[in-house]
């Protein structure tokens, strides 16, 4: 990214100074290599990033979705179809983390069914641009949910992420926030976004991050930075499919 662009962007909204991109590597992450067989895939599943780091159950169906999305030879129509399916699964799983209360309903046969009702007061926040790919999936589940946006760009050389634009619901501090960002390499972008949310008085524990692919580095980075935040992903793997946004939006 050329320097003068960077400066233009800094004129817009919220500015955030970032610490240099130092990634504290622990031994576990150091050991992590690209798996070369099914057994090593399994080993990768063993990584534990604490109770708030949740992985979608790796059924063979989910694995297929990941395979198609990762395959560089997948045609774009297939890519979008499978990505939307995986997004939907992550969103449905994320909604499980929202608060609810018990309630009984009367069925048409006159019987009582003991179920539950979801509490109101949630919202979505997508990190532009790839996070927007997940908006539709969330919209398909919650038709009238408020969705805010944060635009962050990072310097390609220094990996320093800068906030360019943020537009959030006014009462976001009283809401549960579903933060959407599909691909995490270093985790810097998400860290920046969470800090924006915190500046808007959102409690860390009220944030649920919806993510598709995450590197062990990013996972470790996030859990150590925001231990109270719930993180939901479908896969932890040293190689993240960084082409996701470009392929999804067709700007390759």
């Amino acid at each position: 990214m050329p320097e003068h662009h960077e400066e233009e962007r800094q004129k817009t909204v919220c500015l955030q100074t970032m610490e240099p991109d130092v990634i504290p590597l622990t031994k576990t992450i150091d050991d992590c290599k690209v798996p070369t067989n099914e057994a090593e895939n399994k080993d990768l599943d063993e990584y534990n990033f604490g109770p708030n780091f949740i992985k979608l159950r790796a059924t063979e169906g989910v694995r297929e979705l990941q395979t198609v999305i990762r395959d560089k030879n997948t045609p774009r129509t297939d890519f979008i179809f499978y990505a939307d399916r995986l997004i939907r699964l992550i969103v449905e799983e994320g909604l499980n983390k929202l608060p609810y209360r018990k309630c009984s309903v009367t069925t048409p046969t006159g019987q009582i069914y003991d179920g539950l009702r979801y509490e109101k007061g949630n919202c979505g926040v997508s990190i532009v641009r790839s996070g927007e790919a997940m908006e539709q999936g969330l919209r398909d589940c919650c038709r009238s949910l408020r969705i805010g946006k944060i635009l962050i760009q990072s310097n390609e050389d220094t990996h320093i992420a800068k906030v360019v634009y943020a537009n959030l619901p006014k009462d976001i501090n009283q809401r549960k926030v579903l933060l959407m960002y599909p691909i995490m390499c270093t985790g810097n972008t998400v860290i920046t976004a969470v800090k924006i949310l915190q500046e808007n008085n959102v409690n860390e524990s009220n944030i649920i991050l919806l993510n598709l692919f995450c590197t062990p580095t990013a996972a470790h980075q996030l859990v150590s930075e925001f231990p109270g935040m719930t993180i939901l992903t479908s896969e932890v793997h040293p190689v993240a499919p960084t082409h996701f946004g470009q392929k999804y939006f067709g700007t390759e």
Binding site: T67, L95, T106
Partner: protein, 546 residues
């Protein structure tokens, strides 16, 4: 070979005009009277409502009192129940299997007799008097052998003997009747009498409760005779038969009396004396005077009715009574994990005060989760894909070529869209099963399935499964189409325990996939606490709604 235009009344296409009246006299005898029952299986009958008598269309005549719109003639549709705004058409096909889901044999009637003896009339009268749905009529004409070029030339010169047992493909006849007897669907060839070859398309005849097989050589094969539950010989005086032939061929087909007589003497008469008349010995009943003999026909019908009654039984009431209570849930049952979301969605769609808009929205979300869950149960294979130049990823892909959805109308239809959203290029079939309010039995009214269904994995869709009677019938239909049991996934939003047990007991290899199982079924076969009538709530045809 006669030109097309010679028989303007008879013909619509070249193949019809050549359908044997010249080269094969015995055949023309069958072409006289079109049966007054509907001939085709679907609305897309190319022949229309049987105006043109032609061999191919006569090949299979299936009587269905209630068929999809456009297929059946109006007078054959009996409206028996009008319940509020809903009209139920009864007289679909009642269960043709027992409560274990095993087939009971169809009743096969063999009908033999000389040319122009009135076999077709007798068959039609039996079908009419039987007054049971799902009767298949199979004519031996479909099973003429494909002729070689040289034989074809001879046939054109009227020198090929179509009245000899060797002219028929008995192996195919036997395998076809055997399958029909087992209640399965068959592909019957369509014989083209102009080219003496089989058409590329086959005619599908679905399984039936009564199968009538007619032809001049119907009793000529011992193995075939064994398949028949009742053998009827139509014995008409040879003078009468010759007189009919003459009248038919001369008056209606414009042929020369000399030619007709010559052929009669050369092939038809010797054949009758050699093969057909002696086969009368195999008959259980001989009907003199052919189609005019109402006494004989009534006797036959009475017997068939008794036989059918002896085989039939009440299925659904048995299913509802059959007690599986306390038994553990079968291993073939897979219930979607009851996460807060799933539970919340259930709360929405079960609540009777939920608006239709919300009902549709939330049930669709639940369906999507259901299908993702079901898809993950299909077989997968390991694959290695390149994710970046030189970097490989060990993943999975479906080891399944094709998946078809088959919905049980009407409620099952609501699930088609959700299936399409998770499954690219899925083909969709439909089965209509309704409950006969008189008997409480499910009845099969309509089937439309993808062609190559036996090679595919099948997601059988029904929103709710209470007693399991309809699901069982649909599974039976699939099995009759040669779908292996283990390739069937029964997908529903809600099942009752009794339905689970019934289906699992009858078809242990069928995977049952659902989002919840309720305990009870009430006397109206509704699930308790349940969801109400899913189809009514989804389509807005319930009476409580505005």
């Amino acid at each position: 070979m006669t030109e097309n235009g010679v028989f303007p009344k008879m013909t619509r296409s070249a193949s019809d005009s050549g359908s044997g009246e010249d080269m094969d006299e015995t055949k023309s005898g069958h072409e006289m009277t079109p049966l007054s029952v509907s001939t085709d299986l679907g609305p897309a009958s190319p022949n229309g409502p049987l105006r043109t008598p032609k061999s191919p269309s006569k090949i299979s005549i299936k009587k269905r009192l209630r068929a999809p719109p456009g297929a059946a003639k109006p007078e054959e549709t009996r409206v028996l129940h009008t319940h509020g705004r809903r009209t139920l058409y009864t007289a679909g096909r009642p269960p043709w299997y027992n409560k274990e889901g095993q087939l009971k044999d169809a009743f096969v009637i063999g009908l033999c007799g000389g040319s122009a003896s009135g076999k077709t009339t007798v068959a039609r009268k039996i079908i009419e008097a039987l007054d049971v749905p799902w009767v298949s009529l199979v004519s031996m004409d479909s099973f003429y052998k494909v002729l070689s070029h040289e034989q074809h030339e001879r046939a054109i010169r009227n020198e090929y003997d179509f009245d000899h047992p060797d002219a028929f493909d008995f192996d195919l006849v036997i395998s076809t009747i055997q399958r029909l007897k087992e209640g399965k669907s068959v592909n019957v060839p369509i014989y083209n009498f102009a080219t003496h070859a089989r058409e590329r398309n086959m005619k599908i005849i679905y399984g039936a409760n009564v199968v009538i097989f007619e032809g001049i050589m119907a009793f000529a094969n011992a193995e075939l005779l064994k398949l028949m539950d009742m053998r009827v010989f139509v014995d008409t005086d040879s003078d009468v038969r010759l007189a009919r032939r003459l009248r038919r061929d001369i008056a209606e087909r414009g042929r020369e009396p000399q030619g007709v007589l010559k052929q009669y003497m050369k092939f038809v008469k010797p054949s009758f004396e050699h093969y057909i008349e002696p086969s009368m010995r195999s008959a259980d009943i001989i009907v003199p005077k052919g189609g005019e003999n109402n006494v004989a026909i009534n006797l036959i019908v009475l017997h068939v009715h008794n036989q059918l009654q002896a085989r039939g039984f009440k299925l659904r009431s048995k299913l509802a009574q059959s007690s599986h209570n306390g038994q553990p849930m079968p291993g073939s049952l897979h219930i979607l994990e009851k996460t807060p979301q799933v539970n919340g969605l259930h709360s929405f769609i079960r609540d009777k005060s939920t608006s239709r808009d919300e009902f549709i929205f939330y049930s669709k979300r639940l369906m999507r989760l259901l299908f993702e869950y079901a898809l993950s149960m299909l077989p997968f294979k390991d694959v290695v894909v390149e994710i970046q130049p030189g970097v490989f990823y060990h993943g999975k892909r479906l080891a399944v070529d094709k998946i078809a959805g088959v919905s049980i109308l009407r409620a099952g239809e609501t699930m088609e869209q959700a299936l399409c959203e998770v499954c690219k290029d899925v083909s969709i079939g439909k089965i209509l099963i309704q409950t006969n309010l008189d008997t409480g039995e499910p009845e099969l009214h309509y089937t439309r399935l993808p062609r190559d269904i036996k090679d595919q994995y099948i997601f059988l869709l029904d929103a709710t499964v209470a007693t399991g009677a309809a699901a069982m019938m649909a599974i039976r239909v699939l099995l009759d189409h040669d779908v292996p049991e283990e390739k069937i996934f029964l997908c529903s939003l809600l099942m009752a325990e009794s339905g689970v047990h019934t289906v699992a007991y009858a078809f242990p290899k069928v995977k049952i996939v659902t989002t919840a199982v309720d305990r009870d079924v009430n006397e109206f076969f509704h699930i308790l606490p349940g969801i109400g009538n899913f189809g009514d709530r989804y389509f807005g045809t319930d009476f409580s709604d505005d």
